[in-house]
Symmetry: C3
Subunit: 291 residues, 3 copies
């Protein structure tokens, strides 16, 4: 049986204080020594399935072909399924809990082609308790897939339509306003909104931002450096979405914004007391491959 | 001379802010380019030899064959020995300071077969000061071992019996009570006790926990998800030990518990004002191999 | 075209919470699958070009031959140049923004031999915004260099003399005093000064440290363990510089010192009210190779 995959891209909420990440990688290396593991991040907030799902969606088009392992799993040991999902367009398999963490990335990678629940205990590590599925269920499944074991051998088939979908917030247009939501605050305090730049053509410059009962004016800028000191600006970020940013400062800190917060964008003299954004299942728009 | 080891499993208290980990890995790669380094964790608290020793003991049965490097070394540059220890049962060598950090893992891997002090300066990097043995003594020793240099060449032989033992706390039974100690609080706030589930057969459900002069009732649960909201439960964790846990919340934060704290377990209506647990040299019980 | 480099040493201020590091490594692996990336650190404070430059200078003599990627880039997307710099003495190329982050390491590696600006868009990833040059410009450049693409193909030639120099602070001698500056506070709270041990031969033991209007006596010690409990001492560190340290405690925390602070060293009974240190372009002194 030929080796099938050489790369595992690994994301989790395991953090860096404990040895969880290292043990998962040790199990993979013990079973499939030829595999290289690329850590996407393990700094997802504990239990934050939505944050992990978005991080994976931002990254997916850039990943090397192979297996993608995403473990943010507050329901570990319960009835939630552990799954492996083969996608249509990419030579890749996604492995993780069936709690939505994989959904947006799978959609961006062409959608699920086949899926199984990781129920065959021949591919599990024996363990006295069920609290560390990353080590005992997911890592060996990933390693055996890399060794060429077919998806279908790992457990019972799962109908792709039954996989839990991801939920991404849609913007809502209300008159001259765009009611948006914060998707992500990054390490530098940039505030990514669920807003396509095209949605803002209805608004002149500057734009008035309303949030938490406050208002703040923001001008469009080509780069962080082009934003005036002390001001916040609107930048089209590396993912093609509108971000609220500042120059060498944290816009999120300055404005008190976090993931999930509602922000209304309007013309600078408009009425900007907007209600919360609505939520609807939707995929990030497809994007280009890295090379 | 054939290459002997292909994997180095690396644990330290170096943290992530400085370049210490990267420099150690660069030195290994410069001398032994064929080696893959698997980082177990570098988030051990500064100087926490006990915490590092327990993390290594939890991980050791899952490690790929090769060299294990553990650097938590508050005595760096002093008279404490730098050692390499070959174990009996596993094709592995453990390298680190002789301060107890290796002891439990070595015991779990079958005990020390041979050991040396890393005294031969031909295998050291020259350095103006003695504060970074990870870079100047441990990394080159690890790399040369991976290149096939025999343990005995690295320095003076050390009698395995003289290696500093690890110290793991024993539970104590007092009447109907079990006096335990917190071994570990993980990233999610799960509180691992030094308690085997068998020790609790004397106690009905729920169990009364006593600590810091407080009391709290806890029911046994099969998984974190099975614990009622707002409650704490007792779960057999992935290491076969009893953990105090909560459902998507930090039990440690809720109860104010940290590593080393004493917890008494009793029947829910019993007298639970227990004294501190005693300490005794003991190994974690042997466990199974990963694949 | 033969593969040219097998190792990328990677340093940034990307932190560990987001997937930035993982995406850069995924892009490199997608284009140049044979490459091993060694992470030096990604815990540089956001925007801290000076801190990154010093970390790279401390590490450079220990790096495996190959490409060095340093991304601390507050001017991303602006007119600052993205560059690749080939050095004279080492089989290495340094890649990053031309903002000083590479300068000291390049000087220690023998100085710039050739340089280019990464302007050829054939080697960029297409992207909707310009905020993530690590992914879209630096990572593909690094990967193509590893694949054997010549530096000159990546963009317009840059005259090495026009690269932004690094600025390292010089000590200043004033009578019997040495006016120094804190270069670095490490994970353990050791305070590295820009002071060569030879500069202190004029001072008896103990030395009086003056900083922030306070004074503190410090004795020389061979190792951290040799410093008395509760005291601070002066240790020659692993880089050949004088560090203020404590025994299993943070000297920086104890004294309230951080990077960039001024410290005056004098004889214990001398007048130590010194002015701030002067700044001048200078390289860390050359040092030895790792093996």
């Amino acid at each position: 049986m030929p080796e099938r995959f050489e790369t595992v891209s690994f994301l989790s909420d395991f953090g860096s204080a404990d040895e969880f990440v290292g043990v998962v990688k040790s199990v993979i290396r013990s079973i499939a020594p030829h595999v290289v593991v690329v850590d996407l991040t393990h700094g997802i907030s504990a239990y934050d399935v939505r944050g992990a799902s978005l991080a994976l969606a931002r990254a997916v088009q850039y990943l090397a072909p192979g297996v993608v392992l995403a473990v943010v799993d507050p329901g570990v040991g319960s009835e939630r399924r552990a799954v492996a999902v083969e996608v249509a367009e990419v030579a890749s398999v996604f492995v993780g809990p069936d709690n939505g963490v994989l959904a947006s990335a799978v959609a961006l990678a062409g959608g699920a082609n086949r899926a199984v629940a990781l129920t065959d205990e021949r591919f599990h590590l024996p363990a006295p308790g069920s609290t560390f599925a990353g080590r005992d269920i997911f890592a060996p499944a990933v390693a055996h897939l890399c060794n060429g074991v077919d998806l279908a051998e790992l457990g019972e088939p799962v109908e792709p339509d039954t996989l839990l979908p991801g939920v991404l917030p849609l913007t809502r247009r209300e008159g001259g306003q765009v009611v948006a939501e914060v998707l992500w605050v990054d390490r530098y305090g940039n505030v990514q909104l669920n807003v396509d730049p095209d949605e803002l053509v209805i608004l002149d410059d500057p734009v008035m931002l309303s949030f938490h009962g406050e208002q703040r004016s923001a001008r469009r800028a080509e780069s962080y450096s082009a934003i005036a000191a002390g001001a916040v600006g609107l930048v089209v970020d590396a993912y093609g979405l509108v971000s609220i940013a500042a120059n060498r400062q944290s816009a999120a800190g300055e404005l008190g914004l976090g993931a999930g917060d509602s922000v209304t964008l309007a013309v600078a003299d408009g009425d900007a007391s907007g209600p919360a954004a609505t939520t609807s299942p939707v995929a990030l728009r497809p994007s280009r491959s890295p090379s």
